[in-house]
Amino acid sequence: MQVVKLSLKKANKIPIEADNVNPDNFAGKTAEEIKAISVWHGNGQFPLGDLFNVEVEGSDSVENTMIVFEGDVSRVKRIGQNMSAGEIEINGNVDMHCGFGMKGGKVVINGDADSWLGCEMTGGEIILNGNASYYVGSGYRGEACGMRGGKITINGNTKDYLGEHMCGGEILVKGNVGLLPAISNNGGKVVIEGNATMPASEMKNGTVIIKGEVSDLLPSYKEEGTEEVEGVTYRKFVGDVNVGGKGVLLIK
């Protein structure tokens, strides 16, 4: 097991771009090597060690590498981007694009996450023990596919455009979501235990289950009886009719 502990040397408003900070890039490296990794901060590049305190215990493979952030990293973007294995634990709030393009491994956030959590991820797991902002599990601007695989669990609330353009994988939100969850999705499964507004607009494929209140159901779904999932009976809606969709929207 290799454990890399990172904490910010000083609070920052200008975000640090930590797209290099993942187990794939840290495994087997010494503290000195990790400190030398270059990251963007504003319009300049700096060695990681200039911005973070770095402690390394052990040396191991990617699968057995764990990165732990202590304290607030709410202005550190792209933590865990493209990671394929290993684990990241964040004990504080985290900035945008955490777990972007993630392929495997696990990210646990004990705090809130800013927008684009788990964007375009294809595998692995993200567990958020706080609230998320906009565009969880969505795609980059203009892309037809967002999240394609893996699982995101949000134990708090999240805001608009959850799972936008989702093509696969699973998202579970224990709290409420904002506007237009699962918009333009084409596969995958979204479960929302709290409330949602205008769900599943232009869904082509996929399943959306909402256990709380739904406001402003879009006038593009056909109601087709009921369906039972895990002992609970839901009203079943099929659509979006305007995209010839075969998506299933289950509402309590």
């Binding site: 927008s115 902002s133 906009y134 565009y135 805001k159 608009d160 455009y161």
Partner: protein
């Protein structure tokens, strides 16, 4: 008496005509007001020209009352400009655009007078 209203902002011809004269009183007159329909003004006990305090989650601002029969009940309009922006939503909703329309507001009559542009901006420097 307070009423709850849904606040929107937008362009007007007069605001547009003063875009390049924002230090003038004409700009103040063109932007430092809130339109409600006459039923809502009546509820407030306000007449055109009275001062109204508009309060939202994001701040408060004092503007003049103005009647507009085209507004449905509970819809308040302040022309785009620094007065409206004192109370509109800074949340960009993940897509860059602040909340310039559809901000829940409380409106009441006040004795305070609207601040002129420079005084309004000065408050930001003092913050």
């Amino acid at each position: 008496m307070k009423i709850k209203a849904n606040l929107i902002s937008g362009r007007t011809a007069n605001q547009g005509a003063h875009l390049e004269a924002k230090t003038h009183k004409g700009y103040f007159d063109a932007c430092a007001y809130c339109e409600l329909n006459s039923a809502d003004l009546e509820k407030l006990g306000a007449s055109e020209g009275d001062s109204l305090k508009v309060t939202t989650e994001f701040g408060e601002v004092v503007v003049f009352a103005k009647a507009n029969g085209g507004n449905p009940d509970g819809l308040a309009f302040i022309p785009m400009g620094p007065w409206a922006n004192a109370v509109l939503s800074p949340d960009t909703h993940g897509c860059g655009m602040p909340g310039f329309k559809g901000v829940p507001a409380e409106i009441e009559v006040t004795d305070e007078k609207p601040l002129d542009m420079k005084s309004l901006m000065k408050k930001y420097l003092e913050d």
